[in-house]
Symmetry: C2
Subunit: 342 residues, 2 copies
């Protein structure tokens, strides 16, 4: 039988000591980490970028098919993605969790293993947090802190007419992974003897359960001396994010269906579910890719990077936001992205 | 009848726009606030202090007697208190909330009125956050950011033998306010016709529902050029916090019962409940006062400040942590502070 230690045997401070015992400070700027009223950071003349996200069991994740280690990893990643989307480098996080008494110490250890793995991979320090009880379920709140050379952060509101519209990686796979997991859950609940077989869908399942943040893209852009004219990460769905950029930048755009990057496995799974792969790419959400605009003259610098697709261009605001389909039809882009209040 | 607007009529972005519409940036260092993937802060060569706290309905607060506006105010204050406890000045916060569908837009507006009032009073900018659904109850996660002159932050682990042990304000009143509110709730639940009469207990009720952070003490210490040798805020209870300082500083201490500052109204209410006022002061919690140690030679600088009490002194670690009672007895100090997992 698995070991189960009750949290109240440790108390809050024992718990914090236990959960943070493996963390070693990696950033020179982290002057003081976990264990005091606050942490202290020195940014050595850089600007600080701050982002925060809350993840709630039953709303953002389902523990029936989400391993706690993956959940810990993902809850860090979604926040780091926001920092990269500002053209900044994440350096520290705080991690607060609330959980009901159905969670054992071993479960929390597993969650923190994932947190630890993400921090290590992205060279980020865990500098604080809070652990407390909840009446129901598991609630996670992460604040990520990053640094950027003064003035080099990139907003959503600064796209210009004529800019190229680019996206990293591929789109829609995380949504299809979720759809598959939900289907297998339903089958399992109806007949627990049927074990899910997900072996042929490792890509889309991985995109859902263990996403990565696009550190590599930010490093590539820096190396090529490209500062995007606007940028954000794709968390709610491409169409929703494009509309944010258009609204906040007061521009329009044209998007080409045949330029949207969709992974083969995602395309096949969409077909199998009777879904349109383009609709999945536009509205799926949780891709954690970077959507950005850049000047046309930078095109030559990115053309050989297979991880970046030019999917359209920015127009004047009077032209609205449109997608040109494979058949040559023109449709207005509408936000069908993910909404926690639906 | 009161107006009730459902949250899903607005969607997440409409909601964020609505809740943050009254916020104006107050700090020159806040380069970019709400509305992008992240906020941007310039600390102009200062060090950044970060602290975070989570508040959960049913664990940390009871909405039966906590007005939402007060809750919004208090959820900011408890975080600012941590920043002051580092000898830093809070400059920004992020505010994330998760709430079930029993909360209307008007309820959230009321909560944010309190957040807004606290930010205004303490000259702090709200720079980001997250709003999402919960399966049950109201969950609040705040991260506070502050700044400090490099090297002038004050930790818990640096108290020295011979230092004076000081506390601001008075202790135990917030706990007695809570005890009173819990009693009145019980009476009301047994007989809803009996309306609570709290008019003669405005001080202790105020200490519970609308605490303040000790900005004034930090300003006073700076003006007098006192850098405490160690400091923390009193949130879980004085005895618990003293033991943190002793453990982390590897020292002992002597505390005098007759030096503990207790407000008259708190003392009277303790008597009425058959509680020992000293026990309330030691273990009550939620006082949000500052507990600090300082060198003996600074005594003359604070002696005239009625908001600071010298309650004891630091000894060597071999002497442990003790309290000398009014009767001259010596007792070991034990942590009876508040624990979310009890």
């Amino acid at each position: 039988m698995e070991e189960r230690t009750e949290i109240n045997d440790l108390g809050e401070f024992g718990l914090i000591d236990r959960l943070t015992r493996n963390f070693e400070i990696q950033n020179a700027g982290t002057v003081l980490g976990v264990g005091d009223d606050g942490a202290v950071i020195d940014h050595f003349g850089k600007q600080t970028v701050v982002s925060t996200d809350m993840l709630v069991e039953g709303i953002h994740f389902d523990l029936m098919y989400t391993p706690l280690k993956h959940l810990g990893y993902k809850s860090v990643i979604v926040n780091l993605s926001d920092i990269y989307a500002m053209n900044a480098v994440p350096t520290q996080i705080t991690m607060s969790i609330a959980f009901s008494n159905r969670f054992s110490l071993e479960a929390l250890d597993e969650f923190y293993e994932g947190v630890y793995a993400a921090c290590e991979r992205y060279n980020v320090d865990l500098i604080g947090g809070d652990t407390t009880s909840s009446q129901k379920g598991f609630i996670i709140s992460v604040t990520a802190i990053g640094e950027v050379t003064p003035g080099q952060f990139v907003k959503r509101s600064t796209a210009q007419k004529g800019d190229l519209l680019c996206v990293s990686g591929d789109l829609g796979a995380a949504y299809l992974g979720l759809t598959l997991l939900e289907r297998e859950k339903k089958i399992f609940l109806e007949n627990p003897k049927i074990q899910p077989d997900l072996e042929n869908q490792t890509y889309i399942i991985g995109r859902q359960l263990k996403p990565e943040a696009r550190k590599d893209i930010i490093e590539f852009l820096a190396e090529k001396e490209i500062i995007p004219t606007s940028m954000m990460d794709v968390s709610d769905g491409l169409s929703s994010e494009i509309l944010h950029i258009c609204k906040q930048s007061e521009v329009g755009c044209v998007l080409y269906e045949d330029k949207l990057p969709v992974h083969d496995e995602a395309r096949q799974m969409a077909m199998q579910f009777g879904l349109d792969p383009t609709a999945c790419a536009l509205s799926g959400g949780e891709d954690y890719e970077l959507l950005f605009t850049m000047k046309q003259e930078d095109y030559d610098k990115i053309v050989l990077n297979e991880e970046i697709a030019v999917i359209g261009y920015i127009t004047g605001p009077e032209e609205g936001a449109h997608i040109i389909t494979r058949g040559g039809n023109r449709h207005e882009i509408t936000a069908q992205g993910w909404n926690a209040f639906k």
